[in-house]
């Protein structure tokens, strides 16, 4: 999870933006209670999307308290009281984050990532104890992904499958009554995150000779702008089948709670982000950075 699933604040009122923030605080609190303060930095908007989605799907009763926290030490803010879903997502988030950093380190990441990996050893070990099943599956999926990346697999559906299954498995394990539509929704959300990250990193991946699933698939990279222009039609197919599948599955769930925020993400934010990257070809690093943590 990379923090791409943000809200489009321009299309939400203050109350709705506050609702999104309140849920983020819920995961952050769960992370603090289970793993301590340091791991709170791992909380991102992608995992908060699952938080809102799962609460809505389960129609879980939520309660909110007013309290101070580390990012708002003087003024009380609304915080979601932790519950089963926030706790389990906090655990899943630590497992996903650790495995992602480990994967980067195996690929030869620098000293910063090595230090980060060491600092995550303890939280990861606890997370593995709390959810050994998820930990095992995530490791297996990353291993499969590494194999495909090392082979420079050009079958983009196959490469995306490993990453897409990560969020799908999180849904399957955390939500005991996960329906087919929720399962497919989470799969396509994971696939979109993997693809948008690849689109975002086209130039730097090419420059640093890192595997990029889009370059491997289309194999005609000269520069970012040219690549997008040359493959525009296929890129639209690739991205919009995923985005529309997300919308379709979401509509079929007939959710009734937190739909103001979920609609904003599914109908606007992720589509606009895709459109923007496909049209301008420019990387909006500010948007990406803003998505890491509220």
């Amino acid at each position: 999870m990379f923090g791409y699933i943000t809200i489009d604040k321009s299309k939400l009122n203050d109350n709705e933006i506050g609702l999104h923030q309140t849920f983020l605080c819920g995961i952050c609190l769960s992370t603090k209670h289970i793993f301590g303060n340091l791991s709170r930095n791992l909380v991102n908007y992608d995992i908060n999307f699952l938080n809102l989605l799962f609460h809505s799907y389960e129609q879980a009763t939520v309660s909110i308290k007013q309290d101070r926290c580390v990012s708002s030490p003087f003024v009380r803010r609304s915080l979601l009281n932790t519950d089963r879903i926030t706790d389990q997502l906090a655990v899943a988030n630590v497992i996903l984050a650790y495995t992602n950093v480990l994967d980067d380190c195996i690929d030869g990441a620098g000293i910063k990532k090595q230090v980060l990996l060491r600092s995550l050893n303890k939280p990861y070990s606890k997370a593995t104890q709390l959810n050994p099943q998820l930990s095992l599956i995530v490791n297996q999926l990353y291993e499969q992904l590494r194999e495909k990346e090392n082979k420079c697999d050009s079958n983009i559906d196959s490469v995306c499958d490993c990453f897409a299954q990560l969020s799908q498995q999180v849904a399957g394990i955390i939500m005991p009554k996960c329906s087919e539509h929720l399962y497919n929704l989470c799969y396509n959300v994971g696939k979109w995150v993997y693809l948008i990250d690849a689109l975002d990193d086209l130039q730097s991946d090419y420059y640093h000779k890192r595997f990029n699933p889009l370059i491997a698939h289309f194999s005609n990279f000269i520069n970012r702008q040219q690549f997008i222009t040359d493959n525009k039609e296929q890129l639209i197919f690739l991205f919009y089948t995923t985005l529309n599948s997300i919308a379709l599955c979401y509509n079929e769930l007939n959710l009734t709670q937190y739909t103001c925020v979920l609609n904003n993400i599914i109908y606007h934010s992720i589509r606009d982000k895709t459109e923007s990257l496909l049209n301008t070809g420019d990387v909006d690093k500010r948007t990406q950075l803003a998505g890491k943590k509220g």
Binding site: G172, N254, T259, C260, R271
Partner: protein, 198 residues
Amino acid sequence: MIYNPYEILGLDSDFTREQLDEAYRTQRAHYRDLRFESGEVGADAAERLEQIESAYKDLLNTLERRDSGSYDSYAHIKQLIIAQDFNGAQAELDKIDNRDAEWHYVQSDIFFKKNWFVEAKKQLEIAINMDPNNSKYTDTLDKLNNYLASNTVNPDQMRTTSRPVDGTPYNNGTCTGSCCGDVCLANVCANCLCGGCH
């Protein structure tokens, strides 16, 4: 967890019409009364009843195809796809040496159900190349290109079924599903904004 009509009605893939009707009646009768129970039991039963209806319709269609003589050499694979056993379906498909247009169509279906849309499209195009006059193939490709892959469709109107999007009894357009809950939750979240979250 995953929708499987055979599992829902407790039937094998070689079921008969009598067995289907019997299973449908029995399952429906069981959950019909339970749906009025309070709490999770009632909610589960209501959800189960919806699944039973869908499973019954799907298996009726399967039966009709089988009885109308359109029972083809891929029927068992298509049943595995309906049962969401994609690995099983792929293994069976791989055993077939004669790869005609229908083979590629079925392969496309497996890819599609796995959300592998690029591969699904490739296989459909091969099927159409081999049998250009088959409207089933061309219609499917047309839907894939002009509906699922479209960047101009309205995402809030996308459905697999013909259920109305607006005016469903469930969705009143609020955040929490109830106007009262919406106001309460929005108020506390508004406080959050005043508290300097941003």
